[in-house]
């Protein structure tokens, strides 16, 4: 490698430069001769670079990989306006004296500003400026007469350099905006492809260049023979059109240049811009090697920072190891065992390891060679799930090679990736350099990213069954014998010293996993969700021993887990990782031992209670009917800022919601304890609303936050009379899912479901664009070692980062709890 790019300059090419950087002059529009070889002086001339493997460049001698391509140039018979600068040319015409060629200002001013209100008279020679008009995309009129490119060029040549400096026009001379020579891009920038039929298919740019050369030729011939004016000007216009669409084929005011098939050609601008364009599609984002993708499945016996890699994947992905005197024996062993895929000799030659050459290769192996070995256990790899919305969407895991075809992961790391196992696929990248591997393991390891920088709480934590299990285990009254305890710990794969006693409570067992320094008091999820049971609802941990309370979502769950955050604050991420692993496993192990089941009868309520619920629903409906009656009589209370109808709708919605609330209270008070309740009260999954909707009443379904209004003329569905305002006809579902819905109630439920679907797709698009803009605005900001936040050019945005210098990912919910160190 030689040197690096320090800066990138932009400017306008002069005809001189175009000539100098070119190796050939294009003279013919022919591409290939009769034998299929490129014609000399044509746009596919082999002196402009190579596109066929095995060929050599006639300019530099390089091959397809080493020759970077060489420009050619075309002499235009008549000059044309460079269409990308057409607006600039217009601006210049507006401010340039048509007589003396000076820029008509004596002060410094930007060209655009000056052109907005051009002087009417030249301050130097006092000539009155004639009106310039612009006919998009590339023609100009002065005094309503056509002012062609030749004349523009002549005028611009007169502008003195010092005038240009005043208007910040320093990228080149203005006359260079009118092309006399056209640079012809190297052939490897527009390679042709050979189709299966043996036919050659040329790139869009080549097509365009052929057109330009052909028309230019004909223009030149016509000028030479002294053809009539109108023929020349037609051809000149045509050259201008083709040159313009070569640069930009999305110009307004002229038809797009099209391929034979009718597809618009891709001009230079189209190549650069947009998501799939050169900049965003090739320079900022690249395809990578050494990556794998497959379906994910859960395995709680893996640690959160491990990933199970299928053998098939492991044998395809390789990691280069430099052979040194210290590891040569190990490397030889790898080759013997068939764990090396390729060897690279010091001269750069790659040798594939096969059964035939294995013996010889072991003997030849020496320091300086590189062994490309297959992925092994404990290799650092990057693991990713799209959409990669935040930094924890890609983290470092340690590989564990396993049979079968899916990536295996601990379900506790699903929340940061937002993954589930309903067919999600994830990507894995094998790191190729030592620097990358050490950065990954030091900065991207799952165990060091458990606390989210977003809100200072845990992102990795127990989920679903893990929470149900651990919360059932830690409830009051759970008692296990010593045998059962060791059985449970063994099933969870936990190696812990069990104190010598006969009976163990579930809390004793979970306490084995906690660090001795831990002291905590908080309210469990159970406290608020169902009953205020002090023994189970208030968690008290003293020196790592759980005195009371169940361990549920608020203790160990992702996003909320207080215990997780507190262990993290102790400063040892390795211990935290082990705790999450073990807590999850013990939850699942206990659940496997105890069993978890739900059935339709779980939500059975006694006839009396059902009657009470029906009464409650009826009561709400009656209240709603009264509102309708009041509305019809005109005695309805009008809410401020609303029409009569709006007031009715708002009050209806409110009344029905209150009704549902009352029903919910009855249901939650009276529903039998079952595993459904075990799940909702621990925060594993589901809520009291879900329970109510299943057991008793679904409630109002809404569209855009209002009762359902759309449908047929004057009514929502043919089940109802026109003008019906009742609750049932506008989305109120009075039954529960268990009892079953009426036909029209299914419609309400489905309408609401569809709205959610549409809302989601619209939202992802809007927020995706917002993310791009936010990233673009903020990407250069960083904290310096003086704790100021600065942009790319060193400009200060914050003097003291976050006003206290604290990194939220090292905080407890955004705060530095100094009281812990008193």
């Amino acid at each position: 490698m030689t040197g690096e790019i320090k800066a990138l300059g932009f400017g306008i090419l002069s005809p001189e430069e175009i000539r100098q950087m070119a190796t050939i002059r294009i003279v013919t529009s022919d591409l290939y001769d009769a034998d299929g070889y490129p014609v000399d002086g044509g746009v596919m001339d082999s002196r402009m670079g190579v596109i066929d493997p095995g060929m050599r460049c006639r300019t530099c001698g390089g091959n397809i990989d080493t020759c970077k391509g060489h420009f050619g140039y075309l002499e235009l018979a008549k000059p044309v306006v460079h269409v990308l600068f057409a607006k600039t040319v217009y601006n210049l015409l507006k401010v340039t004296c048509q007589k003396c060629g000076r820029i008509m200002t004596k002060e410094r001013a930007s060209l655009e500003e000056l052109a907005k209100s051009p002087p009417s008279k030249c301050p130097f020679c006092s000539t009155v400026h004639k009106k310039v008009s612009f006919v998009k995309p590339y023609s100009y009129n002065i005094d309503k007469k056509d002012f062609d490119a030749e004349k523009i060029r002549e005028l611009f040549e007169k502008i003195p350099d010092r005038d240009l400096k005043r208007i910040e026009f320093v990228g080149g001379r203005p006359e260079w905006l009118i092309l006399t020579l056209l640079p012809v891009s190297p052939v490897n920038s527009r390679p042709s492809i050979t189709l299966e039929t043996g036919e050659r298919s040329e790139d869009d740019l080549t097509h365009k260049l052929v057109d330009i050369v052909r028309i230019n030729q004909s223009l030149k011939e016509n000028i030479d023979i002294g053809a009539p004016e109108f023929i020349i000007s037609d051809l000149w216009e045509l050259v201008q059109y083709h040159v313009s669409t070569l640069f930009d084929n999305e110009l307004s005011g002229i038809p797009q240049a099209r391929h034979r098939s009718g597809r618009p050609l891709r001009g230079m601008v189209q190549r650069l811009k947009g998501k799939e364009g050169r900049i965003r599609g090739n320079l900022l984002g690249k395809r990578v090697n050494f990556s794998a993708r497959t379906v994910i499945s859960p395995d709680p016996m893996l640690s959160v920072n491990e990933v199970g890699v299928p053998e098939d994947v492991a044998s395809e992905l390789t990691i280069p190891e430099h052979v040194t005197p210290l590891n040569i024996e190990k490397m030889k062993k790898l080759i013997v065992e068939g764990k090396a895929s390729y060897l690279i000799r010091p001269d750069g030659r790659r040798i594939r390891v096969t059964d035939d050459n294995r013996g010889d290769l072991i003997l030849m192996l020496d320091k300086g060679w590189i062994v490309e070995r297959k992925l092994q256990d404990n290799d650092v790899v990057l693991f990713n799930r799209q959409p990669s919305l935040h930094k924890v969407s890609i983290m470092a895991h340690y590989a564990k090679i396993m049979p079968h075809k899916t990536f295996r992961m601990n379900p506790s790391v699903c929340p940061p990736y937002n993954a589930d196992f309903d067919g999600d696929e994830m990507n894995l990248h094998a790191l190729q350099t030592q620097e990358a591997r050490s950065e990954a393991s030091l900065l991207m390891d799952v165990k060091d990213n458990i606390i989210s920088p977003k809100f200072g709480g845990p992102l990795v934590g127990l989920d679903l069954d893990q929470i149900t299990g651990i919360s059932l285990l830690t409830k009051s009254g759970v008692e296990l014998s010593k045998e059962e305890t060791s059985d449970l710990l063994a099933a969870a794969g936990i190696d812990a010293k069990i104190p010598d006693k006969k009976k163990f409570s579930g809390r004793d067992i979970v306490s084995l996993l906690l660090p001795k320094e831990l002291n905590l008091d908080f309210k469990a999820n159970l406290w608020s969700s169902r009953n205020e049971d002090k023994n189970n609802g208030l968690v008290e941990i003293e020196n790592g021993q759980i005195k009371s309370g169940v361990i549920d979502k608020t203790a160990v769950g992702a996003f909320k887990g207080k215990i997780i955050n507190s262990i993290s604050a102790l400063g040892d991420n390795e211990k935290l990782r082990q705790f999450i692993d073990n807590a999850g496993r013990i939850g699942v192990a206990y659940l496997m031992k105890r069993g978890l089941t739900i059935g339709i009868s779980d939500l059975d309520l006694s006839d009396d209670i059902m009657k009470e619920i029906r009464k409650s629903v009826k009561y709400a409906e009656n209240k709603a009917n009264k509102l309708i009656a009041a509305y019809n009589e005109g005695t309805l209370k009008i809410l401020p800022g609303m029409t009569r109808k709006e007031s009715l709708e708002a009050q209806m919605l409110n009344t029905l919601a209150n009704g549902l609330n009352d029903v919910s209270k009855i249901v939650i008070k009276n529903v039998r304890y079952s595993d459904i309740i075990a799940m909702t009260e621990s925060g594993a999954k589901g809520s009291n609303i879900n329970t109510t909707q299943m057991a008793a009443c679904v409630g109002s379904e809404t569209i855009l936050g209002k009762r359902i209004q759309r449908g047929y003329m004057g009514r929502t569905l043919p089940h109802f009379k026109r003008g019906d305002l009742s609750a049932a006809s506008h989305g109120f579902v009075s039954r529960g899912f268990k009892e079953g819905l009426l036909p029209y109630e299914f419609f309400w439920n489905l309408m609401n479901g569809r709205e959610g679907l549409m809302d989601k797709s619209l939202r992802t698009r809007k927020s995706g664009y917002m993310q791009r803009r936010l990233i673009n605005s903020l990407q250069d900001l960083k904290v310096l070692d003086d704790l100021s936040i600065r942009g790319a050019m060193g400009e200060i945005v914050q003097f003291f980062a976050g006003e206290d210098g604290i990194d939220p990912s090292k905080s407890e919910w955004g705060k530095f709890v100094w009281e812990n160190y008193v």
């Binding site: 001698g61 900049i279 809007k766 927020s767 917002m770 936010l774 704790l787 006003e803 008193v822």
Partner: protein, 462 residues
């Protein structure tokens, strides 16, 4: 690293604790040292790319926000835009929010319902249509008669005589006769229906654009006025209004009235409120950083193409965002040099972005080996060397054999290749001659084939 001190707030908190517990000088010093040690652990690492983290932290919750626009703000009963649309509005620095709203606080002296209602009446914009009961049009004579509601007028404290002076329309004559406003159009071809509409829509009293006013008690049992529509400056001028607490959700109004620092705080408050209202949590530091970035130049800049992202100094950064053509052309004319300071620029140049570990290069000495390890290592190394020597001899012997074998093999392969190439050439030539024959039939190209072929052959040899 610079000398680290506690931030002011933390220092005060610890000081208070020391005072409360009457800690001695020695003990207080020790405590402070201990806390400082922990505080240092929680600081940002140098070169931490907070910008990216901020952008991610703010946009990740946005994917979970509802698109549902309207929602009642608190108890006031005024519908305001919330959720993702509101967040976009704030970040884009929209000149006017979709639903501007104000919370007006009132001085203690005016804290009773009657006085508040009076102030509210002064704030609410009254249009002529609000005080007109009926209107009669005389199309022939181009006269419209508006019957005015006397009670309403006196409630609002508007004198009937002054009404003609409030309607600011040209080419009409106005007069008051008892409780009727008589308007006569001066021009003959006036569209009288349009004129009636214009007159009814004209402003009579109150503050322009404030279409709704609601008086409520807030959680501190204090009377406040909520409005739909906003005009901070005019409202603050009204007697009885507490200008120190009265606010609006229109950030540009705050900027114009109180300046850029207040606008920054308004952005933080509004964005935080929008996010928290949706039940989502984001650390306030990120909202603060974005608000600082939007305001640090002294004016409010949005995040989009007309704001921060479109005004970066680097051409490549701008061109890679949006409007690629525009930025490249402009750079060419101005002869701009991009010094590749930012992250995208470096990624485009295939270099490491200058932040995080990309800001440093690794230069380091190997640490000295401890004596105990050294001996053990030497022992191992000696044995290793001996083993290796033995292996080396064996290796050399067999490598020669292998090389010989390889050479022979290579020779075979070469022979094979030469043979294959020859065959291929032959086949190629056959195909080519066939092709040329076919082409000759269809094309009119009449070039000297002989010459061309020669040059091609030469090229191949090269």
């Amino acid at each position: 690293m610079h000398d680290i001190k506690f931030p002011k707030k933390l220092d005060e908190e610890i000081g208070e604790y020391i005072k409360k517990n009457k800690l001695s000088g020695q003990k207080a010093k020790k405590l402070k040292e201990r806390i400082l040690e922990e505080y240092k652990k929680r600081l940002y690492y140098p070169e931490e790319p907070v910008g990216i983290i901020t952008a991610q932290s703010l946009s990740e919750p946005a994917t979970q926000m509802t698109m549902r626009t309207y929602h009642f703000a608190g108890t006031a009963g005024i519908q305001v835009t919330l959720g993702l649309p509101r967040l976009l509005e704030i970040f884009d620095a929209k000149k006017e929010p979709e639903t501007p709203t104000m919370t007006i606080y009132i001085d203690k002296k005016y804290q009773n319902e009657a006085k508040i209602t009076k102030i509210a009446g002064m704030i609410k914009e009254v249009k002529l249509k609000d005080v007109v009961t009926t209107s009669v049009m005389d199309i022939l004579n181009l006269v419209i008669k508006f019957k005015l509601n006397k009670e309403k007028l006196s409630d609002l404290g508007i004198e009937m005589k002054k009404i003609p002076s409030k309607v600011k329309l040209k080419n009409i004559d106005m007069s008051i006769e008892r409780d009727t406003l008589i308007v006569t159009a001066k021009k003959e071809n006036t569209n009288i229906h349009k004129l009636r509409y214009k007159i009814l829509e004209s402003h009579v009293s109150g503050i322009k654009n404030i279409s709704q006013v609601i008086v409520t008690k807030n959680e501190n049992a204090e009377w406040v006025i909520s409005t739909l529509g906003s005009n901070l400056k005019k409202v603050c001028e009204i007697e009885g209004v507490d200008p120190t607490r009265t606010t609006t959700n229109n950030i540009f109004e705050i900027y114009n009235v109180f300046g850029v620092e207040a606008a920054r705080n308004a952005i933080i408050k509004e964005a935080m409120h929008t996010i928290e209202e949706q039940g989502l949590g984001v650390d306030i530091r990120y909202v603060m950083l974005l608000a600082d970035l939007m305001t640090y130049k002294g004016t409010i800049m949005g995040i989009g193409r007309y704001g921060i992202a479109g005004n970066k100094p680097s051409v490549l950064a701008r061109a890679s965002f949006e409007e690629t053509k525009k930025h490249l052309v402009e750079a060419a004319i101005k002869g701009i040099k991009d010094t590749l300071e930012g992250s995208v620029e470096n990624i485009i140049m295939n270099k490491v972005a200058p932040m995080g570990t990309g800001s440093f290069t690794l230069v380091g000495k190997l640490p000295k080996m401890p004596e105990s390890l050294k001996k053990e290592y030497e022992k191992k190394a000696k044995k290793l060397a001996e083993d290796r020597e033995k292996a080396e001899i064996e290796r050399k012997r067999r490598i020669e054999d292998a090389l010989k074998a390889e050479q022979e093999e290579q020779q075979d392969i070469n022979d094979e290749e030469v043979r294959e190439e020859k065959e291929k050439d032959k086949a190629d030539n056959e195909i080519k001659s066939k092709e040329t024959k076919a082409k000759n039939k269809t094309t009119k190209a009449k070039t000297a084939k002989g010459e061309k072929k020669e040059t091609v052959q030469k090229n191949k040899k090269k």
